[in-house]
Amino acid sequence: MQETIKRKPKRKGKKIPFAYYMMVVPIGILFFIFHTIPFLRGVFYSFTDWSGYGTWKFVGLKNYLYMFGNSNITHAYWFTFKFALFATILVNAIALAIAVGLNGKIKYQNFLKAIYFLPYMLGSLIVGFVFKFIFGNLLPSLGQTLHWGFMSSNILGTTHAWIGILIMTIWQGLAFNTLIYLAGLQSVDPEIYEAAALDGVNPWQKFMRLTFPLIAPFFTINLVLSVKGYLMVFDQIMAMTNGGPGNSTTSISVEIYTQGFQGSQFAIQSANAVVLFIVVLTISLIQLRVLNKREERLG
């Protein structure tokens, strides 16, 4: 009876049961509705003159052109890039140094590790408030007592306000990066160092020629996450300076929020947000490419 049944050859390895689709599709649809549709609408509004409510009409690329001519927006980009660059370099350099320290022959290692990771647990908003107080009240009064001119005024009220934000960002950002570098350092087989010791390598060579290449993948993770995060810097600025003095610490995200949400530039800031999205995506992809290539060369 069975020999007559002719089957069409199937080309798939194995059919995927319907249940598996049910495990993805519903939440995928919800994500589309609540994330992708708003995103597409945001992109759409960037071509209109909508102010967040009321009527609107198409204006083509006007918002994008306006953006480039607006000194506040161009300054926000300049500030954000500067901030992201400094924050990334400093956070990673200091985190690496702390990680090397924690990985040394020290006592109470786990306790110290726990302390250094602590800031990661605290919300940027509240940490920002606390640092605002430290810069505004504590340090100036300390500076006045000690007659240290540079510390006698609130840094957040000067052209160097961004350094205050940078310090708070480093304080909080160190935790995560340190932890990752430490994980990297601990993944290095100690036999490699023993072999290097036999070859007569000095500590600096040991770090530059052995340790650093060996933790390259961890370096990549940290760098990509740092840059991405700092390009979107928001919470700490809102907590500490609100973008001031002047607009000296207005990052792209802050500009989008204040002008788009509180001012009436919703459409213009939608365009700004779209540009920010493209910038973040491009930089991340370039980084991944370059760093992965470098890793391959090293690996």
């Binding site: 069975q2 020999e3 050859p9 199937k10 080309r11 390895g13 059919k15």
Partner: protein, 367 residues
Amino acid sequence: MVEINLKHIYKEYDGNDNYSVSDFNLDIKDKEFIVFVGPSGCGKSTTLRMIAGLEDISKGDLVMDGKVINDLAPKDRDIAMVFQNYALYPNMTVFDNMGFGLSIKKMPKDEIKKRVDNAAEILGLTDFLQRKPAALSGGQRQRVALGRAIVRDAKLFLLDEPLSNLDAKLRVDMRTQIAQLHQRLQTNMIYVTHDQVEAMTMADRIVIMNDGKIQQVGTPDELYNKPTNKFVAGFMGSPSMNFFDAELKNGRVSNGRGLDVAVPEGRLKVLREKGYDGKKLTVGIRPEDIHTEQVALEAMPDAVVSAKVEVSEFLGTDSMLYSRTGETEFVAQVNARDYHKPGEEVEMAFEMSKAHFFDDDTELTIE
């Protein structure tokens, strides 16, 4: 009573023009222990997985007890399987691992316990039932994997290279255990391995595969002594059969590079009938069919060569002599008493009545 028929089974994957398995035909009788053997990538595991239902069958019919079960889900086929890496559930105890299939089927708890205890008893796992797999040795994990199949009381057992992760000694032990298990359970078993020794020692019948095709099906004895082609002859037996490219002339085979031996009358007749006289062919002779004892040299005077031993291995009962005559290299497996040091010149007799002859083009056995 379980009979399984595989009829013209084909398997092809996306983006791959060749069939991974082609025209696989096999009838498996009740209670038979079948071993699929072949080099890795030959399609033996794929075939097993098609029987299990883990892969779709591209073409052909899989028949179990007269019913086509191509489209039946694995769980409805009543088949138990042991995986190469055991695939034990790391989060469950040994007991839960073994009882998982039964509890999925909503079997009463006391029945599950009875069956698991019974299987544990057979496999000597009673003391380990509450442990997690991570706390077991390799051999114990292996037995849990078997136990998980046993408790299912399935119609058919599939074992996919179950011993490949064990060390040599344990492998031999487990071989025996599985063989005993088969005796005891009296179920059909299909066993996949790349190790011809396992195949030889365990199988009722061996299916030897290469490049997705069945090369030969038969009892171990048949495969060893009457291989249908050069591949089967070379694959079965360790060390492998010696092959020589030679020419049949004047009742002798010679390769012009040191080998020149006479072919016995009976074999010569067949070869001549098939028209190989004066033609090139491949001669195969197993190492154990090359002798150094005086008796043999005297009995087969026209098949004696003078060879130089280059490497010799002493194996206790036997010695392996890696030797060379002229420019021709070969291996001889001789009695340990006939041990020869490297560098010695030794007379060796080729027992040509046991030699195999293969066509150069088709590589099929000439008979």
